[in-house]
Point group: C2
Chain length 298, copies 2
Amino acid sequence: MADDAGVVGFIGLGIMGKPMARNLRSAGFELVVHSRSPGPVDELVQAGARRASSPAEVAAASDTLITMLPDTPDVEAVLFGDDGAAGALREGSLVIDMSTISPLATRDFATRLASNGVAFLDAPVSGGEKGAVEATLSIMIGGATEDVERARPLFAAMGKTIVHVGDSGAGQVAKACNQLVVASTIEAVAEALTLAKRAGVDPAHVREALLGGFAGSKIMEIHGQRMLDGNFEPGFRARLHLKDARIVLDTAHGLGVPVPAFEPVAEALSRLVDQGDGELDHSALITLVQRSAEDSAT
Amino acid sequence: MADDAGVVGFIGLGIMGKPMARNLRSAGFELVVHSRSPGPVDELVQAGARRASSPAEVAAASDTLITMLPDTPDVEAVLFGDDGAAGALREGSLVIDMSTISPLATRDFATRLASNGVAFLDAPVSGGEKGAVEATLSIMIGGATEDVERARPLFAAMGKTIVHVGDSGAGQVAKACNQLVVASTIEAVAEALTLAKRAGVDPAHVREALLGGFAGSKIMEIHGQRMLDGNFEPGFRARLHLKDARIVLDTAHGLGVPVPAFEPVAEALSRLVDQGDGELDHSALITLVQRSAEDSAT
């Protein structure tokens, strides 16, 4: 496997990136890593990876470069900033951005790299830290089929469900759609369970009654249970979902697509973060609904 | 079975009521029926039911009375209006309202009947015409346990998933929660699939990529496919979902529960009906999103 991919560069060893890089190493890939905090780099070096001191240094040593970074400006800086990867990447090499960032910016990055003869895939993931650790991530990919095939052994080492959605940017579009639907469904379940409770009906019974029918969803099952338990250990942090919600809104507004029911959900995420609950699981959206229901009752 | 329930009265032989009554008859229950239109009454009489000319006449002949009517005022009129059932019901008899109506009005009806020694269950259903015909309805029940047990053979003849949610009104509360979540999820899927399409990504691929993860739901599966096919044969008519959406809003507003993400969904259902598409499946909500996306592009 390591032969196909050659040397793999990995930039961004955060909560997601570190276990993903570790899984690549466990699968036998030769790794060169870089990250802002030295701790995770040390850990990967102990596992047999090589250390690099800048994105450019990683790029110069890599045949394939993976980025796993917080947001659009981070990816732009790592690729095109000072000491960025773009200037050091060899013609014929491949960049795989697995961050969740703007689909429109993604297409721009792909175009800029293509002019240097460098291929690009957008491959955001879902499945959270658990999926990253257990190599069971869902990976949504945009880009050319030949590049997806070339990268498949890498994806297989990090994830389970690997879907080639379409051309460049399509992975990020699918991820944005995912985050839209997930947040909207969480809010719907939160509104419904709060309505049940305020109407004097046990929300646990309502959840149960609804699970088998058309209102049934993964969110009703997992996040509905978290809401009943008042257990907001992440999971997926509200703060990160707010970041993704802004990507959804930017994309929708940029394309002139109305998202009238998602707008108040994004506002609610923003309110949750503003009040200091950004580190809670996104299912904590129910606390906002509960609080205003209580306020209106007093 | 017919022994436990005695004579069963059935008022409201519409799209749902007619097949439900027919299933009761097939299960061997002695039936007395009444409906506004004579056609369905004739059909049930041919199947062995007795005809009655008013709600009061049905009530006088019944040990258990089932109502399956369009909306809250219809149930109120049948029970408490001129020639209404309430005056003719025997002490110790049971009324089961299987319509989808206001939870708050439901509790009032139960209280008024209780003062005459008449028991009441609210037992709205989901599963649509198909579920009614095939006796696979989901039935959400509010009321006293002994009354639910007494009615269980009747429910078993009409439905498959029979959940006793809680006290009086709890069935209607669960149904309102169901309709809230279903409509909100349809709108979320509609916004996401339109976003994908306008971003140049095949929405069928996005639906597929999302189905297995946290964005996965019965709505994504069934209604998502209808949206891709542009097939808006009902299913469940937008007009009826609008009626239910108004019940959700009345209940939420009455209890002071904010439903900020459901409000624009209810508005969208209202717009869909206003423009003459009330007979389409509720998944036609996507046409509103598509149309404004197109308008903004021109």
